[in-house]
Symmetry: C2
Subunit: 243 residues, 2 copies
């Protein structure tokens, strides 16, 4: 299977010729692996406590459910006093917001970096979709499943909706560019953007069904599928994948 690494095809990866910000973000995205952030060297332990509370909230929201989880249960699972938890987060809503933001922020940052790149749009779209799928399938928990909670319609989650809207807009724009580049024309509004975004996020439901899903295989397959949706021929898909 082709990989976005230099050694896979004996050459430098495409993004090595890009600006430093693009290189940094693409490398970060490529290197992203499942698992919670490492314990920091923070002497006060504040960052670790914050991460412990977030991890405890994530585990409870995804297994017991958001409504059924109390702040007391979160503090207990994190092994901290409730007062300590409140020092970091105003409550359950603030915890859920932070977890939701984490499911889109890295992809928005990558999309922003790719938007400044001169690379072929199909290749940029493939890179974004693949990294996004890795993000959604990585980590111990399926945090994307929280997207359908009735509770997140509230104003307190506006920052998440705004950031996800930004990501969707980046996909829509990049998909339209890629479609034009490979087919010579753009389809009528809304174009392939919504289908592309839908296919990427469909891994949230897939992971629900296949907890041991092959992350790398699915990331490649979805990124290839995204290119099919914008009109790439099999040869164009293969070209977009090459380093």
């Amino acid at each position: 299977m082709l990989r976005l690494t230099a050694d896979a095809a004996g050459g430098a990866p495409w993004w090595s010729g890009q600006g430093s910000a693009t290189r940094w973000y693409v490398r970060q995205a490529m290197a992203r692996r499942p698992g919670r952030p490492r314990a920091s060297g923070d002497p006060s332990g504040d960052r670790d406590t914050r991460q412990d509370v977030l991890a405890a909230a994530a585990a409870l929201f995804c297994t017991v459910g958001f409504t059924a989880t109390s702040t007391r249960a979160i503090a207990e699972r994190a092994g901290v006093r409730q007062a300590t938890m409140y020092h970091h987060f105003a409550g359950k809503d603030a915890l859920l917001l932070e977890l939701l933001l984490g499911t889109v922020r890295p992809s928005v940052e990558l999309a922003d970096a790719l938007a400044g790149s001169t690379e072929d749009p199909a290749r940029r779209l493939w890179t974004l979709a693949r990294a996004d799928v890795q993000l959604l399938l990585g980590g111990e928990l399926n945090l994307g499943a929280l997207y359908v909670l009735p509770e997140i319609a509230g104003e307190q989650f506006a920052a998440f909706h705004a950031l996800r809207d930004q990501l969707r807009a980046r996909y829509t724009d990049l998909a339209a560019q890629a479609e034009e580049a490979v087919t010579g024309e753009r389809s009528a509004v809304p174009g392939p953007g919504p289908l592309v975004f839908g296919l990427v996020e469909s891994v949230i439901l897939r992971r629900r069904d296949e907890p041991d899903v092959d992350l790398e295989g699915v990331a490649d397959a979805v990124a290839d599928g995204v290119l099919r949706l914008v009109g790439c021929t099999p040869a164009q898909v293969a070209a977009a994948r090459l380093p």
Copy 2:
């Protein structure tokens, strides 16, 4: 926009030449429209009561959430006594199971009918995907959002998982057949099936974001996208859509 009706292109629809079971199911699927089932002529009112309870449960599960909804609240909203509700359903789990089954049963029936058809696989796949999207986007509530509830992992929902697995298997089989028919070869296992199934069900998340989504437009777009995923060229997609 092309529609699967005879008058759209002046000819008889493709499924009119199929066996009677196929014709019946395809007509049912094509005629399906949003909205709860009509009140029956059932003199005891049992069927209406059952539907009222189901509708009340659906509304509460999708807005308040499954965990936060009590059987008392469901009975109150349905305008029946709790004892009457229990006459029809053993409890919240039984209600949720019935609602979940309703999101896949019509599509499995259509898929079974289409499996017995002699029509071109790409056309059958397009028909199934389009009807399935109409089912998921139809009705007043986004019942597919219940798929990610942590609660449905339990054994009491095995019938739903079995039926959805059956639908996934039908898609996988039909997608492989369609791929072979249009490209002359089959890709390695798992083939395009999981991406196809994911793209169809992605409308669950999309509806969460766009409550007033254009049902017919999205159904056509997703069904077209499904054919792109199995390798159809634009001309092959257009051919599959013709009546």
